[in-house]
Amino acid sequence: MNFYTSFLVVFALLAVCVPFILLFGFTGALARRSRVAPFRWFGLAYTSMVRGIPDIIFFLFVPIALDQGIEYLRHHAKCPEWTEPIRQGNDFVVCAAAKMPLGPSPQWVHETYGFFLAALAFAIVFGAFAANTLHGALAAVPKSQLETASAFGMSRKQIFWRIHLPQMWVYALPGLSNLWMILIKATPLLFFLGVEDIVYWARELGGSKTERFAYPHGDWRLGYFLVLLVFYLLLSWASEHVFSRLNLKISKGQATIGGQA
């Protein structure tokens, strides 16, 4: 049944997003710490822009912009001989070779592509939050530890990879676990990106069905949504447990309140 497989869509989204979120988060955090001013400005603009705009507005706008942006670039790369304008009135027309994905490719390619655009939009938004957390965590590592490393004669690169980064995780984990909880609860918004997730199927299957359907029934959406509520509660509950375990593990040997408690 589609309703059951759609639960997997939620997990797939989380699985696809998390690496990208961390990637964007690190890029953003490092950009903000960069000694090159334009990088710093970029990092600050990225994190504060996402902080200022509701995520739903991002989701309404970013995927379609990404889609057209990618096709625009491919159009210029692949069809330089094309003379007609790309914007013809309201139409956005690129040559067939620049279509993403290619027009004739099978349906599942289109779907997967749409799914990845949605995931990318998610990653951009939550990457900015992660950048904030990681930036704070990098700044929270006690200076003395870094100075000690420097006194041992480590290079800047060594200090970063061997001391700064590993030590940072202790400070980043509470923020990141909070971010994960927010991410879980943002997944129903997938539905607005046109991905057929659990919310879509809950509305579709729960809506009243007339006798045209094999199983006519009234408005069952309330029931379906209660199932979703339980699903999300379980997911949050399980995540909280995993994170508290992880926190204990990562704080081992660290002189923090979490570790010594």
Partner: protein, 245 residues
């Protein structure tokens, strides 16, 4: 914007048929999938309904190889013009407003009047009270202009629920859409007032730059009108309604 929808199992099935007729021209048809009997998602999770049959027949005659995608109603036009699919076949009335942005084929369904529906026992004044309609439909504009209090819902389901539970006094939608619902409500819902003619017939929406596809589909619609196939389909899906072409 809502992008391409993930159609689960249907998609795979569609993908296999696609490769089987590889010489055809690939066309993606966008529909809403929530407006029975025009288009809806059946229990197997596939696009079904009057427009599914019409669309498949048109594609066969125009030698196009078509796949179905569903998209939320309120972003169905932006996704057409940005090229996420090639044609809209979603019970869309031909209106001047829409015609400025996209092109339409000739109609494959005659102008369908819109009707008000209210809970049993409602007076005629209901249509001047709080009236529900789906956001961004011609009915929503009509209600707003009529002087009644417009209450907008994002899906047809919510419109029906709102009349049933008394949230609103009446609701306005296509007559064909109501037929099933009113019948299934066991007298709970009734038609009130006279049918109103708003909007033109129903046609397929095509990008303005895509004249080739428009010509092909127009020719195919001519052909199903000429040999009576279309009339048979309309009679099948709309309770024996007779339409002569």
């Amino acid at each position: 914007m809502k992008l391409i929808k993930l159609l689960g199992g249907v998609a795979l099935a569609a993908a296999f048929t696609t490769s089987a007729m590889a010489d055809g021209h690939a066309v993606r048809l966008g529909t809403e999938g929530a407006y029975a009997p025009y288009n809806f998602i059946n229990d197997a999770g596939e696009v079904d309904g009057f427009e599914r049959e019409v669309g498949d027949e048109l594609c066969k005659r125009a030698e196009l190889d078509c796949t179905w995608v569903t998209n939320e109603w309120d972003s169905i036009i932006p996704n057409l013009v940005s090229g996420n699919y090639d044609a809209i076949i979603a019970g869309m009335s031909i209106t001047a407003e829409r015609d400025e942005v996209i092109d339409f084929t000739q109609e494959y369904f005659p102008p369908d009047p819109s009707t008000y529906v209210a809970a049993a026992g409602a007076s005629m004044d209901a249509i001047k009270g709080n009236v529900a309609a789906q956001t961004a439909t011609i009915q929503a504009s009509y209600v707003s202009d009529s002087g009644a209090t417009l209450v907008e819902f994002s899906t047809p389901d919510e419109v029906v629920a709102a009349v049933k539970n008394g949230e609103v006094d009446a609701a306005l939608a296509d007559d064909a859409f109501w037929q099933d619902i009113v019948k299934a409500s066991n007298g709970e819902l009734v038609f009130i007032g006279e049918p109103i003619a708003i909007g033109g017939g129903i046609g397929m929406g095509i990008r303005e730059s895509d004249t080739e596809l428009k010509d092909k589909l127009n020719a195919a619609i001519d052909s199903i009108k000429a040999d009576g196939t279309l009339s048979t389909m309309i009679a099948k899906w709309f309770d024996g309604r007779m339409v002569k072409y």
